[in-house]
Symmetry: C2
Subunit: 339 residues, 2 copies
Amino acid sequence: MLEERRLAVLQAIVSDYVATHEAVGSKALVDRHQLGVSPATIRNDMAALEEEGYITAPHTSAGRIPTDLGYRMFVDQISQVKPLSAAERKGIDRFLSDAVDLDDIMTRTVRLLAQLTKQVAVVQYPSLSRSQVRRIELIPLNEHRLMIMLIVDSGRVEQRTVECSVPIDEVLLADLRARLSVAISDQPFSSVPQRIEDLEQSFNTENRPLVRAVIVEILETVTAKLDERVVLGGASNLARYNEDFPMTIQPVLEALEEQVVLLRLLGEVGTETKLSVRIGHENQVEGLTSTSIVTSHYAKESTPVASLGVIGPTNMDYVNSMSTVQAVAQYVSRFLSDE
Amino acid sequence: MLEERRLAVLQAIVSDYVATHEAVGSKALVDRHQLGVSPATIRNDMAALEEEGYITAPHTSAGRIPTDLGYRMFVDQISQVKPLSAAERKGIDRFLSDAVDLDDIMTRTVRLLAQLTKQVAVVQYPSLSRSQVRRIELIPLNEHRLMIMLIVDSGRVEQRTVECSVPIDEVLLADLRARLSVAISDQPFSSVPQRIEDLEQSFNTENRPLVRAVIVEILETVTAKLDERVVLGGASNLARYNEDFPMTIQPVLEALEEQVVLLRLLGEVGTETKLSVRIGHENQVEGLTSTSIVTSHYAKESTPVASLGVIGPTNMDYVNSMSTVQAVAQYVSRFLSDE
DNA sequence: CCTAGCACTGTGGCACCTAGAGTGCCAGTC
DNA sequence: GACTGGCACTCTAGGTGCCACAGTGCTAGG
């Protein structure tokens, strides 16, 4: 009974604070929520909640605001995510269904997320490491330059160029292409290195330099971490929170500009759970300790390929963010799968 | 004589204001510059300059700050752009020379610009409309899907996929590919439409739907404006100017997130002049009227293919921005050309 | 044409005050 | 034993008055 009301109080505090961004006091609380008790009682509960570390008072005569721990409790309490309205679902559907290629899907998704949540949105490209090579092409650009093109089942296309000193021989090229194709078509990226590493041996000594160069580039493409691309959108939404944490915008913007940081944020989440929320200090990244991050995996044919999510101040609207992120992830998964 | 000193005064005001971001008064001016006259004289000159609209006083007892017109005069007065130091040139060189492909060049360039100028940087991908098709490939992804790949001489690769109801015939594909290749290889984009529009006629009726679909996609790719991509970097630098125009960050960020707006900014510049500076209200874009934009074309084999530049507050360091933008543009041109 | 001097005027900072919101605690009530 | 009403206390936001300062415009004189 007692425990139950305290929890209700915490939830009330969080939702009020999220809505108004102002510290909430005992009186306001009983006015706006049907708690059935007097302010004085609430004050006692609040004192207890503060003792336990769920809320804190910015100064003596102000109301209380939730701590990171308080938000955590609040979020954990949300057992099932509120579904979106039919109109919203329809909107998402229509917006995404116009996409023409993978780039377009990613760009549209990030915009969609940013618009719906009024937050900064991040979308990771389908990861290469969990992908398969669908096909490989070798395209001579001119006598001395060759373009390697890896087509990946997630829809991505990776390209690299190779410079070679001797003119490129068409026959050799066709041969190489055929053998590479046999070796790695429809194979997962992880197995590519061992499948092509001794391919070089089966060519004449004179041709080996070129073969070697091509293999090296392929290996680099397959193993390179930097291929994990991320798109960012809605950065202007950060500015709206100016009032709340005024000096903090720059470090956040800086962090967001670092691909590496973003990848870490999206990647850190284990694959076991779909929807993940990290609050304030829960994420170690320098400069993002006063922001919260809501992410979800999305999948292609039910195997997760990457993540997407939103980043906002810790006092963001978790309910809305969580349901939106989850819904968008579902839609993206569906689009990737049945295309 | 009189005119000459007034100009010197204006220049002094601009450079002081740019350095300190504080309104500059007559006394400070004679202290920090060797003008050889007394503050009172300067005051007369300042009054005249204000009359002519080059400077303005925020309030009675403050110093003066340059108007857009004042900056314009100042910039126009910079006849030759100050060259960068050897160390800086070396830095640019090394940073860019590690790039592996076009994407990489663009990303590196934008970071470089942002770092050197401490401003927001924008780089436009080499424009398709001024480019030639180098090669076309048709790659079947599966029985019903076909990927069209246009390799462009600027190093870009454009890809589109086509869905078709009937299984794709290999022979037909080879035929189509060969004819397309003959028709548009090494042709400028602008001539592509007329070159392929009646290609459809030379195929059997049964195959026409596929041919038609492919042609449509190619035409879309060639004519689509949206293919003009832009990369943005250093947005966090905006936050540094917090103090100067505090409320204005959001609209600026919003404007910068609109690809269309950025393209207009970069595109508006005529091709005749290389280095271009637009100050404050000179650019009509909503939300960017208190920013200045320094851009330059860059070229591939001496034909300009796109623009790059930086965006900052009107009170930015024009001298530095201009020389940096110009130098970076030169380096990028060189890299594109001799690769 | 330049300069010195003087009266004038907003701004920013400081000290001060007040109203209001919110708390903690204690004594009383069901 | 849990809840409530009341009271004293504390801190902040915001308003006011005041002063020093920086910078100006103007006028008279070199």
